[in-house]
């Protein structure tokens, strides 16, 4: 099975540039030198045959880091030289105070908008911003306050705008934040596995230097087997669920209490871009921060630090 998988998933290292975007989907099947689900239906060996009994449950192996990285980037971003990925989600935040029962605090609806450009071999430069609005835990109405169940205080909760992400390089060496002071790439835990007719990508991301110590983020992105094997798709439509641990934000007013927050989200790639965002959310962004409904390509024009330039050369 491994050999068939290698064949099926061996994407070309040279990926058509952005100026040829529109031609990619129109290319005859196999023009990229890749197997496809249609090819499989014509009798090619199925790289992911059904299990003899029970649900298929395999960890998918790749011949090397390059192939594994390409599979990941296709799932989380887009293999074209330049692209954007928009994710829409809801998440709930919980407070974990040592010695007390953890409690839910507030629900959020948000988006992550990332924009990226291939700058070398299999390395992309990625910038992104996030915007989320607080919602009532049970009714789902937008709110601007919640009660802290540990202190009883009524909290003033503002929309969460994350606009200061320094950007990151992502490639087969893994991650290098653009504000890194060293040339050390950060590794991750990443597994792609099959679950019946679904493919799941489980990814635990590193904590960059300078971030709060109590931070970790994990996600599981799910795509169909059919899409996964159709290598004419450079950006896979995924459903995603994930979790992150982070320190108490200032709006929680937790003082010196030991503990942290947990966020748990469930969402999807907005395949059709901004028009695919939930209407009420999109209308609010258009009203309050319309500039955040577009990629901030200017971020990619900032020059790279000497450390990052050195890392790229190494």
């Amino acid at each position: 099975m491994l050999e068939a998988l290698r064949k099926a998933l061996s994407l070309p290292d040279t990926i058509p540039d952005a100026s040829r975007r529109l031609t990619i989907a129109a290319l005859p099947l196999g023009a990229l030198g890749i197997a496809s689900t249609e090819a499989l239906s014509r009798g090619a060996a199925d790289p992911l045959p059904a299990a003899a009994t029970g649900l298929a449950d395999d960890f998918i192996e790749f011949p090397d880091r390059r192939e594994k990285f390409k599979a990941l980037f296709r799932l989380e971003r887009d293999l074209r030289d330049e692209g954007t990925t928009l994710t829409t989600y809801q998440f709930m935040t919980y407070a974990v105070v040592y010695g007390s029962r953890p409690q839910p605090i507030v629900r959020w609806q948000g988006m992550e908008f990332s924009y990226f450009r291939r700058i070398r071999d299999l390395t992309w430069r990625i910038h992104a911003h996030n915007l989320s609005y607080p919602m009532h835990l049970t009714t789902g109405e937008f709110v601007s306050y919640a009660v802290n169940p540990f202190t009883g205080a009524t909290l003033d909760i503002r929309p969460m705008k994350l606009l200061d992400d320094p950007g990151v390089l992502h490639g087969r060496q893994c991650y290098l934040p653009l504000d890194s002071k060293t040339t050390d790439w950060l590794d991750t835990f990443h597994v792609i596995r099959r679950e019946g007719d679904l493919i799941k990508s489980e990814h635990i991301r590193p904590t960059p230097d300078g971030w709060p110590a109590m931070f970790i983020e994990s996600s599981c992105s799910t795509v169909t087997r059919r899409d996964f094997l159709d290598t004419t798709i450079t950006a896979l439509p995924f459903q995603s669920a994930g979790f992150y641990v982070f320190p108490f934000p200032s709006w929680m007013q937790m003082g010196e209490r030991p503990g942290h927050m947990i966020g748990s989200w469930s969402g999807r790639r907005a395949v059709n871009g901004v028009s695919d965002l939930p209407l009420r959310f999109r209308e609010r962004v258009q009203r309050e921060n319309p500039e955040l409904l577009s990629p901030r390509w200017g971020e990619l024009e900032r020059s790279l630090s000497p450390v990052i330039a050195e890392a790229l050369e190494s």
Binding site: L22, Y98, C220, A241, F243
Partner: protein, 289 residues
């Protein structure tokens, strides 16, 4: 329709399978594809309870519910970087019985086997990334859950049956092709305070809308917070564990992945069977709520 015939429906709910690159996006835009759907289902408390029950379990008066999943455990030491420890493959096998109008009694157990973080192979020891020590990791068989009563009024855990029901968080919402229930588990009153379990189960809209279906296939994801397990050998250090899972609801053990099933049959055959004798035990002083 047989329940197992519903599985392809989970794929239908992905709903995006044929969309590709910008050509498809442009086509969708040209055809007037609308915004994504994201709404909260407005249901009265009883209907909310019934539909959550249908998604997470089934509306049969008596049924066995099997969830299968992979999950990864992370150590969260106080004021230090959390670190991944080990992954697992496991099941939660539970059963319920209706004991009154919109009132169910439930019992269940869990069984999980540890796997290597990177290779996915079964393992019996891992490196504790906080202490640096190699620690043995035994399979996890959780058979001590006291059971519970669930109704629209909330949850009564059977370690303290005389207590009034505690509110149950179940929010149903629609996200494009899926109906999702976000839930927070009410733990037994006697469990350690450092415990939280939350999750989301999703089923395709078209199956959810077929009211003849009492059991729905779901994709499940979730996470839980819990105290250091003994095998981590943390010796009272402040902090806790965190785990995140992803899996699905299966109809029966016949649908379990072969490798997991073979090992479970060999080592814990009793945990692949349904023991309904728990329902014969009376519950003295059960709160009427």
């Amino acid at each position: 329709m047989k329940r197992r015939d519903l599985f392809p429906g989970v794929l239908a709910g992905m709903g995006l399978g044929n969309l590709r690159t910008d050509t498809a996006n442009a086509a969708a835009a040209a055809s007037g594809a609308g915004p994504g759907v994201s709404t909260f289902l407005q249901l009265d408390p009883i209907e909310n309870f019934r539909q959550a029950m249908r998604l997470q379990r089934s509306l049969e008066d008596a049924d066995d519910i099997l969830h299968w999943y992979h999950f990864t455990m992370v150590a969260v030491p106080l004021n230090a970087t959390p670190k991944a420890v080990v992954r697992w493959e496991g099941i939660e096998f539970s059963r319920h019985q209706k004991i009154g109008e919109h009132r169910y009694r439930m019992h269940g157990h869990n069984l999980s086997f540890p796997r290597d973080l990177k290779t996915g192979e079964f393992v019996d020891r891992v490196v504790n990334p906080v202490s640096g020590k190699v620690v043995p990791v035994p399979p996890m068989a959780l058979t001590q859950d006291p059971g519970l009563i669930r109704s629209p009024a909330g949850v009564i855990t059977l370690d303290k049956p005389a207590l009034a029901p505690r509110p149950d968080y179940k929010v149903l919402r629609r996200e494009n092709g899926f109906v999702k229930v976000d839930g927070i588990r009410v733990p037994p009153d006697s469990w350690p305070v450092t415990f939280l379990e939350m999750g989301t189960e999703a089923t395709p809209v078209e199956l959810f809308n077929d009211s003849a279906l009492k059991w729905l296939p779901t994709q499940v994801s979730g996470a839980y917070v819990f105290p250091w397990p003994a095998w981590m050998q943390m010796n009272g250090a402040p902090g806790h564990m965190f785990a995140a899972w992803s899996g699905c609801k299966l109809r029966s053990i016949d649908e379990l992945p072969e490798q997991f099933r073979r090992r479970a049959e060999r080592e814990y055959p009793e945990l692949l069977t349904v023991d309904r004798r728990a329902f014969d035990r009376p519950i003295p002083d059960l709160h009427p709520g």
